[in-house]
Amino acid sequence: MTWTMAAPALSAAFLASLVEVVEAFTIVLAVGTVRGWRPALIGTGCALGVLALLVLLLGPALTRVPLQALQLVIGVLLLMFGLRWLRKAILRAAGIIALHDEDQAFIKETGALRASDVGTADHRGWMAGLTAFKAVMLEGIEVVFIVLAVGAGRGLLWPASLGALAACVLVLSLGLVLRSPLARVPENTLKFAVGVMISAFGIYWTGEGLGVEWPGADLAIVGLTVLLLGTSLALITAFRRNSVETAA
């Protein structure tokens, strides 16, 4: 394992997980604030259990798939996942679609929980637990996918897992101290950076799966990242200028 390969895997998993954990934390915090911490923590715990089971089942299963086929499938999935994020991040940065706001998400979630104030206390607790479960499960699946995808192609599961774990510890520590949505985390910028990195990994693994011998071997990921970053920044500039001209 080389540092040039481990560093992008670790940082991509860290940044992507940071975004996902912040989003899940906002909903769990909303559930805890409105319905109490018991259903919030039970829902979160159950989802983490299911996610751990997924990793335990999928991790070893992936080692049985032929490497080239695995790289191709994971590469295509990463490309679809990464370009989707990047497209949205570019449209947000260019001012074409609204930026994601954790404070707004928190207000919306607490509002929805208060509006569903029907049924017995048990029923409300169950629904609140289910809300926390769904949030952690959905955001967690994205984290699991990213860790497996950036890590499984060339034995980088440990650095990728370490990146994801570091993000979880950071968000939970900040959350425990602040006890409010982590709105100051520059989520839109992070999503842009993650979109660039994941797309670069996607192109690299897809190429490997198709038998491409990249110039510079692992270092090609850095080159692909720079190319995608440059293209994305150029697109943002072009569409932002276009938006200003249209508005004028």
């Binding site: 198709l210 038998g211 994305s232």
Partner: protein, 72 residues
Amino acid sequence: MKTIVMILREIAALFVDDERLALAILALVGFCAVLAFGVHGSAIGVGAALTGGSTLVLAFSVQQGAKRKRQP
């Protein structure tokens, strides 16, 4: 059951948000696969087609997204 269906739908949405973007990526990979295995194109050529194609697909998808958002 409703929750499971919802979760499965969300998982699919991880990869397919804009159908045209997803189809364009699959078409690009299909084209590169034909280049690599069908006509046995040079490895560097396949890499260049994949890299250039991906940036073009991204630019086209952003342009389409912007156009759709601006339409009244």
